[in-house]
């Protein structure tokens, strides 16, 4: 099954969480997909940046809070997580509003390092143009 093929695969997240299921079911693809050992990137832009806000509390809407699962991205060997700077700014947000997501750097004695990288729109467009496959949610 796909033995030996390694593709550059980008997940694009453009929707806010909870109002629709796309954020949750999109994340499920990323986590399941990790087992396939592809060259994976995950991008958050437009309303997708709301998925990463720190302090989500869904108790009063009765919907499952899945935001902790983003913190597991590092454990799933995802190393390229991008947030678009312009999308944050347009929404009155900055990087201090985002949850802390880290990974253990195997090349640095397992040191915990921040996983999310803020990039600007032009850089994100370039990353999109380098992929083999783009999955949008």
């Amino acid at each position: 099954m796909a033995e030996g093929i390694k593709k550059k695969l980008l997940y694009v997240n453009r929707k806010a969480p909870y109002g629709t299921i796309y954020a949750l079911e999109g994340l499920e693809v990323v986590l399941v997909g990790a087992a396939f050992e592809q060259d994976v990137s995950v991008a958050f832009l437009d309303d997708g940046v709301f998925q990463l806000l720190d302090g989500q509390d869904t108790a009063d809407i009765g919907v499952k809070n899945f935001s902790r699962a983003y913190k597991a991205l590092g454990d799933f060997e995802v190393r390229k997580v991008y947030v678009e700077r312009e999308s944050l700014a347009e929404r009155g947000l900055d990087s201090a509003d985002l949850m802390q997501i880290t990974y253990e750097d195997e090349n640095d004695d397992g040191a915990e390092k921040p996983l999310v990288r803020l990039i600007d729109r032009r850089e994100l467009a370039h990353i999109m143009s380098e992929q083999d496959v783009i999955l949008s949610f």
């Binding site: 809407i61 009765g62 919907v63 499952k64």
Partner: protein, 130 residues
């Protein structure tokens, strides 16, 4: 006050069904009456008994069915919208030669006239959708 509620989207995919349910519960808790919940468009998908949501998440069909059982709320699924989307009761299944049905307890299938009646007879109609 008598409320009518219109739910236009299916469970989980959109929050509409959750919000409508919580509005209905709050209305009843505040002493109002929920005259009817009418399910239209993909809203009919709230009424399938075959759904198996993850155990750590809410079960919208059960929440609605319980509301019907405990509070006597009238849950009406639009027949035309339901046929398109494969939500049938035993009667509808037989009528269309289908080998099974999937309607959940507490829901009934009827026509758009039931929405009109809710719009006319309720003091307020509140719509939840996409």
């Amino acid at each position: 006050m008598r409320f009518g509620i219109l739910v236009n989207e299916g469970p989980y995919t959109h929050q509409a069904s959750d919000t409508a349910y919580r509005f209905a519960v709050a209305a009843i808790e505040s002493g109002h009456e929920v005259f009817r919940v009418f399910f239209y468009h993909d809203g009919v998908n709230n009424g399938t008994r075959l759904s198996v949501p993850p155990r750590d998440d809410r079960n919208m069909q059960m929440l609605w069915s319980d509301l019907a059982a405990k509070q006597g709320v009238d849950l009406v699924i639009c027949v035309a919208a339901a046929q398109r989307r494969g939500i049938l009761d035993a009667n509808e299944a037989k009528r269309h030669g289908k080998d099974g049905d999937n309607i959940a307890p507490g829901f009934r299938i009827s026509g758009l006239g039931q929405l009109m009646e809710a719009a006319i007879e309720a003091d307020r109609l509140v719509t939840f959708g996409d």
